[in-house]
């Protein structure tokens, strides 16, 4: 167990580090200069040189990168070139938008998908099963940005129930805060709900056809006990795996959704950082995403051992 965890830890760190190198080289490869973008057209050459020095862009790429890595190891991710503020503060500030958005979407997706998937599996052979299957096919096929616009049209433009976009912090107005997150959460969750429903249904069907289920039924257990303890418990490994993948998808999907709903989250910050070649910010963001994804998959792997005693880590 210990060797497994330490091995996972080492590969995680390498993965995250490789992600940072990749972003840094990509930013070097594409044309564009942060100082030029900040000063805009009509910048005078002297100001450009001065800003270059100020931003540390006059340092050669390799030392620039190693300096940044040395700082990052100590928790100092440098200063954003566009915002001229510490990157760490910017990211933690935007997390208050992106975290509730991601967790809200996953929670909503689970609340709908798990019961629906189980229900469809149990009701196989009735009219309910194909209905759920059709729903999940359509839901998975609808792109989230399109769904977002449809939600805005219905809830904001037509009925004025919810804001079309924008964000109000919790401390300023809790109800406005919640209202500003409802539509983005819906838009992000629906696609994942569909996928999770389908996977849950498939996982449950597979388990329900197993011999031990038949045995459990044969020895006279009630169908409720068979379903909730025998079947669901065994399907959980697959369901947790899907959950991990869904969270990753939601993190990535939020980049588009934040743009559509004008939410100042991590995703939009990443887009801005990309557009302005703000490499300290973008590197830190990519490292954050990479860490989150690596950590999630680690959690998922660890959970297998608890869910299924047959799984052992070596």
């Amino acid at each position: 167990m210990f060797t497994y965890i330490s091995r996972r830890l080492i590969t995680s760190v390498i993965t995250i580090f490789l992600a940072a190198i990749l972003v840094f080289s990509a930013l070097l490869a594409i044309p564009g200069d942060p100082a030029e973008i900040i000063l805009g057209i009509n910048a005078n050459p002297k100001a450009l040189v001065a800003l270059h020095e100020q931003l540390g862009l006059d340092v050669a790429p390799v030392p620039r990168f190693t300096n940044w890595v040395m700082g990052a190891v100590q928790g100092d991710f440098g200063e954003s070139l566009k915002y001229r503020k510490p990157v760490r503060g910017l990211i933690t500030d935007r997390l208050r938008v992106s975290l509730p958005l991601a967790f809200g979407s996953v929670l909503l997706a689970c609340l709908i998908a798990l019961p629906l998937g189980i229900f469809a599996a149990v009701k196989k052979g009735t009219i309910f099963d194909p209905i759920v299957v059709i729903f999940s096919q359509v839901g998975a096929a609808v792109p989230s940005f399109w769904l977002a616009l449809m939600l805005i049209l219905f809830f904001s433009v037509k009925n004025h129930w919810l804001p079309a976009g924008g964000f109000t912090p919790w401390e300023r107005d809790p109800s406005a805060y919640l209202r500003s997150l409802i539509l983005p959460i819906l838009a992000l969750a629906l696609g994942q709900t569909a996928v999770m429903t389908r996977m849950t249904r498939a996982a449950m069907l597979e388990v329900l056809n197993k011999d031990y289920i038949r045995t459990a039924k044969a020895k006279g257990l009630s169908s409720r006990i068979v379903l909730w303890t025998h079947a669901l418990h065994n399907a959980l490994v697959t369901i947790i795996t899907i959950l991990g993948i869904s969270l990753t998808n939601i993190l990535i999907g939020s980049i588009v959704i934040e743009q559509v709903f004008a939410l100042p989250g991590l995703g939009r910050l990443a887009l801005t950082a990309m557009g302005t070649r703000d490499y300290p910010l973008l590197q830190a963001e990519v490292m954050f995403y990479a860490s989150a994804i690596v950590f999630l998959s680690f959690l998922v792997d660890m959970s297998y051992g608890f869910l299924d005693p047959r799984i052992r880590y070596t």
């Binding site: 805009g40 100001a47 915002y83 079309a164 924008g166 109000t168």
Partner: protein, 499 residues
Amino acid sequence: MKTFLKVLVGLLIFGLSISVAQTPEPVYGGSVNIAITAEPPGWDPTVSTSQEIARVMYHNVYEGLVRFKENGEIVPALAESWEVSDDALSWTFKIREGIKFHDGSDLTLEDIVAKFNRAKDPDSGHVHTKYFTAIETIEAGEGNTVTFTLNKPSSSLLFNLARPDSIIYPAALQESQASTPIGTGPFMFDEYIEGSEVRLIKNPDYYMAGVPYLDAVNFKIMPDPDTRFAALQSGDINLIGTSLPPEQFLQLDSLAGLKGTSGSATTEITVGMNESRAPFNNKLVRQAITYAIDKEAIVNGAMFGLGTVIGSHMSPSEPYYIDLSQQYSYNPEKARELLAEAGYPDGFTIKFELPEPYNIERRSGQVVAQQLAEVGITVDLSVVDWGTWINRIYLGHDYDMTIIGHSEPKDIGVYGNPDYYFQYNNPAVTALLDAVELELVPENQTAIYQAVAKILANDAVNVWLFSPPYLVAVSDNLYGFWQNQPTPSIDATEIYQVQ
């Protein structure tokens, strides 16, 4: 179709003029939400040329000695009057008495002197120092005056002093302006919710009597045009005064509770050609390209008829405008002849790169590419992101052809810079542009500017397609907003909302 569009636009303008005629009396109080499109990199217009800064801050929070009015006229702001010496080398501005900054401190002459010393110093990090090169010294004088002594007469001085970068703030607080702006304007900077909105509140001590009307203005950052328009329809936003697509503007008439205005702007949508490389170094080719492009069709097709076809680097809103749109007007036959004469009877292949952030440019560019194909020019069309555009095309001059809206007012002077991205070098133009700086009689200035415009048109330096109008979409109970855009600004001083 063309006639239909003209009738439609005509009806719209007619409808608008009726609504303008019934302007109600101003009302005090309330707050409005205004959409902007991007997060500005700080709030100090003297360290960044981001137009979003000017849109929010110009004459709302920050003011200069003089300012633009909505119609482009330059009127007193912090200076109540000014005098010019006979040799035009000495400009004395009388500063209003008793003006306070938003932090309660007094506006001093030292603040003004320090500002322009910084503005003219190329090492100071101030943007656009070239606007201030004519200033030799600036000194505080008797009777609350400041005097600019120039090293040569400058007909653009007053204009440059009205620009968004000529604003005054407390000299000692320069460093903190990017995060906490302190100005003298009708609104005070209240709060910035990072990435989401900036809130300005009424300055109760504003020196102009009676304004502003509103208690607060919130500028909300909304990058997506569809979301902005939806937010306007749902009432979350009261005004969109930037980057309104023409098709959204045309919908306004049929939407309850909303109205639109179409005014003048100083933008020229320009197909820029790289004169430092073949085939664009051949005037015949440039003329052929100009003949090949049906500007009218672009305005109708890409802009739904909203836009004025132009023929040189001037928008109709500029005081010295001359209509040259008929020079080399659409004639594909003539274009083919000229191409053959230039030695390209079978055409050639060029790369045409469109800037990603600009929708109007992108859609116009697509039509241009199609029209060029019809005269035998093969166009390899691609879209480039903004960082690449600035770096490789604008500063690196590594491109064939591109398209961009030149939105700065009075920017025909760029043709005097041979190192500008289209690499046009004509000593006659440079000489005229130098001469106009020294010319103080407005009529003579107009004559020189028009002469420059004619040379540019004749040389077919670029293809100036059209000047798009300044489009605004607002709640129909909102009045007093700028309907023209002499400089990028959403001036809220006189905005009011009736219930």
